[in-house]
């Protein structure tokens, strides 16, 4: 690490749990002061965040390499570039996201207005994770800032270099009264969760997700939980095997399979299995040569405990068709394909989160659907098939956070698509405008007035109640919609109509 950045141990001492109360209360006062409500203030902070990304590329890439031996391309593309894009979009679109949404007026209450005001929640806690430590912490943070909240981020202690960089840089670029970083492990997180937050955003495992949700109950804090699960890949025999093998292996090898949206296991027939393995072997050879351990493009397993867990799968589930090499000193596991995997094998009981790809053979798409539906809802479903009705059938008859046909992972990078799980894979969404909406309370506002007409419309509601009043108000309520002023919607059509007339006149004139 460069000479002027702070080490994890030094920062750890600074994050005294006793300070958490003070930090949260300080941010709470900042929020109550109304500072973050101003759009210009938020824009300034977002621009500063963008500068943080742009001016510290080197530091960020170095930390990612130290934490997980992430290659420069993966670190730059799948962390920094996505973060920059996200921040730029927020800067460009903030005004349109934040502006109140006015509803159409109604003839019955012409002077009344109704609109939806976008209001920040208050103090938001973002708990990050270790596999994409910057992106999965700072992208939600960006959304929370854009929505006008004060934010505390708690990066994962497992990716300690990345956590240290965030702890160093955030206070340098962002307003310290409104945005803070807290460092710590499970104990510190538990202490932190005793404080009152107005929203909690967590990315990580289901086990911890439940603990966070339970802690949020104390103050009835709403949460978004981005969890994981086993994302199945269904492949049928209509596909282009070479492309399919590449797209699946790309998803699996990215960050050594330590991606929440990584393809977890394959469901296919024996025939497809043979073809896929053939192509995957060619692909891996092309990409990483004969000794993939030497390829700098492959990262390493995040930490020892995780390595041990993955190592067990190599011996207790199925048989190795490809790969299987390990090196404990480097936390290295070779991209591996397992065959003859049974549904009850240990590798099929939990999310793999590593470079091991089991193939479970099935005899039909229906069997695949049954298999998927018998398990917790995954974060992603990947369907490889050229048959349109089969694609629709698999997608519609299963439940998953997201679904991709004929590729893997790419849906994550599309900001216009909400990203989030269902069931055990999580709740809530983010990315792009969905981040903004997640961290915003939509406040319904009705503005009436004291005019004669405005009062007359509502006067029948007062006691004493009579049948005439009931009938009249029932009629109004039943026909309310008919009085909505939609005529302004038809103006463009009318103008086009006039344009048609003008064009005929011009044609007549010149001909």
């Amino acid at each position: 690490m460069s000479g002027d950045s702070v080490t994890w141990i030094e920062l750890q001492k600074e994050s005294d749990p006793m300070d958490f109360s003070k930090k949260v209360s300080h941010l709470s006062s900042s929020f109550l002061s109304g500072k973050t409500l101003d759009l210009n203030f938020r824009l300034k902070q977002l621009k500063a965040l963008l500068r943080l990304y742009e001016e510290n590329n080197g530091k960020i890439l170095e930390a990612l390499h130290k934490d997980m031996r992430k290659s420069e391309l993966e670190a730059y593309l799948y962390e920094v570039t996505l973060m920059k894009n996200d921040c730029r979009d927020a800067i460009q679109l903030l005004k349109s996201w934040a502006k109140p949404k006015f509803l159409k007026r109604n003839w019955l209450v012409l002077a009344d207005e109704a609109w939806i005001e976008k209001v920040p929640f208050g103090v938001v806690l973002v708990i990050g994770t270790w596999n994409y430590p910057f992106q999965l912490t700072l992208v939600p943070m960006c959304g929370a800032i854009a929505a006008g909240n004060c934010v505390i981020i708690k990066p994962s202690e497992i990716s300690s270099y990345s956590a240290a960089v965030m702890a160093e840089l955030i206070p340098k670029y962002l307003d310290r009264d409104c945005y803070q970083v807290v460092l710590g492990g499970p104990e510190e997180t538990e202490k932190l969760l005793e404080e009152k937050f107005d929203y909690i955003f967590y990315t990580g495992s289901m086990k911890i997700g439940k603990k966070i949700h339970a802690a949020a109950n104390k103050y009835l804090t709403p949460v978004t939980l981005e969890l994981g699960g086993k994302s199945p890949v269904f492949v049928d025999d209509t596909v282009n095997y070479a492309m399919t093998a590449r797209r699946i292996m790309w998803g699996k090898c990215m960050n050594m399979g330590q991606t929440c949206v990584a393809p977890d296991y394959i469901l296919c027939s024996k025939k497809v299995e043979i073809e896929l393995i053939k192509e995957m072997k060619i692909t891996l050879q092309e990409w990483y040569g004969s000794d993939s351990k030497k390829a700098t493009d492959l990262s390493r397993i995040g930490h020892k405990r995780h390595f041990e867990r993955l190592k067990m799968f190599l011996s207790n589930s199925g048989s190795i068709a490809l790969g299987g090499g390990i090196d404990e000193s480097e936390l290295w596991i070779e991209p591996t394909i397992l065959v003859n995997v049974k549904p009850m094998d240990p590798i099929m009981q939990e999310e793999i989160f590593g470079p091991i790809l089991p193939i479970v053979t099935i005899n039909s798409p229906d069997e695949a659907i049954k298999f998927i539906n018998a398990r917790p809802h995954p974060l992603c479903l990947y369907i490889f098939s050229e048959v349109k009705c089969l694609q629709e059938q698999m997608k519609n008859m299963t439940q998953s956070g997201t679904a991709v046909i004929n590729d893997t992972i790419v849906q994550f990078a599309i900001d216009e698509l909400p990203f989030g799980g269902i069931g055990e894979s999580g709740m809530g969404y983010y990315h792009g405008k969905f981040s903004f909406d997640t961290f915003t309370h939509q406040k319904g506002v009705v503005e009436r007035n004291f005019s004669f007409l405005a009062d007359k419309v509502g006067v029948f509601r007062y006691p004493p109640y009579t049948e005439r009043k009931i009938n009249f108000i029932s009629f109004l309520m039943g026909h309310w919609k008919k009085f909505k002023i939609v005529y302004f919607d038809y103006i463009p059509y009318f103008l086009c109509f006039l344009l048609g007339i003008v064009l005929v006149i011009l044609v007549q004139y010149f001909l």
């Binding site: 929640f121 790309w250 493009d297 991709v404 698509l417 990203f419 406040k443 009931i470 048609g500």
Partner: protein, 501 residues
């Protein structure tokens, strides 16, 4: 676990697995059947509401039945559109790919109704959950037993009995029910209830919406029309005898406004309810003895002065509309918890700013009401306070306004519903991306594969940076219809020139 509960849950699960609720036509048919139910059983429903709360026909009809009718009408008009795939704009760089958001049901939804509006607070979420394609178990509040029994009787006659169930249970039964896994929980009730429900949802990672309550403050400034403000506030307060989650809870105003309010209030209440308010049939009753005693305690132990009202009759569960003034400090018994009754405390403040400070020092309310003719004052409240919703120069209206989301924030709850927001609440937004195996599709994504090098990095960075510029944000339907409008204009003039001139 009772046999009945097991069977209801099992039936719902297998009904959802049968996938019949996925068809929009099925959902629409069920919603239309609900409309038939409301139309054919209206009298029975109104009687049940009267038996539970002594609700007058007007309140039962307008603030229960009509609200349900409006919600049904909304979905009949809009369900097909709501359920459609929401397509992303085409991107020229990836024109062979398509992305869209598909809204799907969660599965088996549990709805816990409330007792104060036992019909609408049960059926409004039910309609939304059905519209979104879920199977539903609705547990109406046992504290409004007549309405619960009526729903148990009539709903199975109109709705599919495999997919939709009315499950009656008391508090213990509800706790047992909550031990089971549901795919979504929607609960309306008190903050304590909210905590129990959330605690039950956690082990199953069940998402939920909690519609809770809180003390909804009203600020009246000196510029208001006191007559109209007073009438509107009293209307909101007396509706269901104050037992409304968005009832105006307490007033913040100057001493001068307080004086005006009291003058108008006594006159207006007499106009409405005669000289003996207890005898008016338009006023409901307190739900039960427990709530009565809670409110009685407030009246007896407040350190404030009763300006008018204060009459109580335990036998008939009657409490008179009561206004309390000169409250010496914020920890007074009437300012501790949501009143949920016909007691209206007035706290005097010197300015809008002081009122805002008081409001911000308390838990976020479900509603906030501001009465003022001064737009800058109104904007202060709208921008500087946080509440579930706001109504300016009236009360309650934000609840029934089509197009507005209804829900709390902070301790008044989270999530929202009504109309389109109900549909969103009970749906999961599944992102779908469709790619192909064409040459172009593969070429575009090829640079992502190892071995990594600088030119691949540069290529992808540029693509990701500029991809949005290649979005084609054209709504082809709109373009076509405008084009036809133009052609129609041309045709009209052409025919006029040719044949009529």
């Amino acid at each position: 676990m009772s046999t009945n509960m097991t069977s209801v849950i099992t039936k719902s699960r297998s009904a959802f697995s049968s996938e019949r609720t996925l068809a929009v036509s099925f959902r629409l048919a069920q919603i239309k059947n609900l409309l038939a139910m409301i139309n054919e059983c209206q009298d029975e429903i109104v009687s049940a509401l009267h038996a539970d709360l002594r609700k007058s026909t007007m309140e039962a009809t307008l603030y229960e039945v009509e609200l349900v009718r409006s919600e049904i009408a909304y979905f009949i008009r809009n369900l097909k559109n709501l359920a459609k795939k929401e397509k992303l704009p085409m991107n020229l760089l990836a024109c062979l790919d398509s992305g869209y958001i598909q809204r799907e049901p969660y599965g088996v939804v549990l709805i816990l109704g409330a007792w104060n509006y036992p019909l609408s607070l049960s059926l409004l979420p039910l309609i939304g959950a059905i519209a979104a394609g879920n199977c539903v178990i609705l547990k109406p509040s046992e504290l409004a037993p007549n309405t619960a029994q009526t729903l148990s009787k009539i709903v199975p006659r109109y709705l599919d009995t495999e997919c939709f169930h009315i499950y009656e249970a008391d508090l213990e039964g509800t706790k047992e029910l909550l031990k089971n896994k549901f795919d979504y929980i929607f609960a309306t009730g008190s903050t304590n209830m909210g905590r129990s429900v959330m605690a039950a949802a956690v082990p199953h990672l069940t998402p939920l919406t909690l519609e809770l309550g809180g003390k909804s403050p009203i600020f009246i400034d000196d510029s208001s029309d006191y007559e109209l403000a007073t009438k509107r506030i009293l209307w909101g307060k007396c509706m269901n005898l104050g037992q409304t989650c968005i009832a105006p809870d307490y007033i913040l105003c100057s001493k001068n406004v307080e004086k005006e309010f009291l003058t108008v209030a006594t006159r207006v209440l007499t106009e409405w309810y005669g000289t003996n308010w207890k005898q008016s049939l338009d006023l409901t009753r307190i739900l039960n003895e427990k709530n009565f005693l809670r409110l009685q305690k407030m009246i007896e132990e407040t350190k404030g002065r009763i300006a008018f009202g204060g009459q109580m009759d335990q036998q008939t569960l009657w409490i008179s509309p009561t206004v309390i003034v000169d409250i010496p400090d914020p920890s007074d018994i009437v300012m501790q918890e949501e009143i949920f009754g016909p007691i209206l405390p007035i706290i005097t403040v010197d300015s809008a700013d002081e009122a805002i400070k008081i409001i911000k020092s308390r838990p976020k309310p479900l509603s906030l009401y501001v009465f003022s003719k001064d737009n800058s004052v109104i904007q202060e409240f709208v921008k500087r306070t946080s509440s579930g919703g706001i109504c300016i120069n009236d009360v309650i209206w934000q609840n029934g306004w089509e197009g507005l989301p209804f829900g709390g924030v902070g301790e008044s709850g989270f999530g929202n519903y009504h109309g389109k927001y109900s549909f969103e609440t009970f749906s999961h937004k599944k992102s779908v991306l469709q790619r192909g195996f064409s040459y172009m599709s593969e070429k575009l994504g090829e640079a992502r594969y190892p071995p990594y090098n600088d030119s691949k990095l540069r290529f992808f960075t540029t693509i990701i940076r500029h991809i949005h510029s290649f979005n084609v944000n054209i709504n082809w339907c709109r373009v076509t219809s405008h084009f036809f409008a133009g052609c129609f204009g041309a045709l009209v003039l052409f025919l006029y020139l040719r044949y009529l001139k």
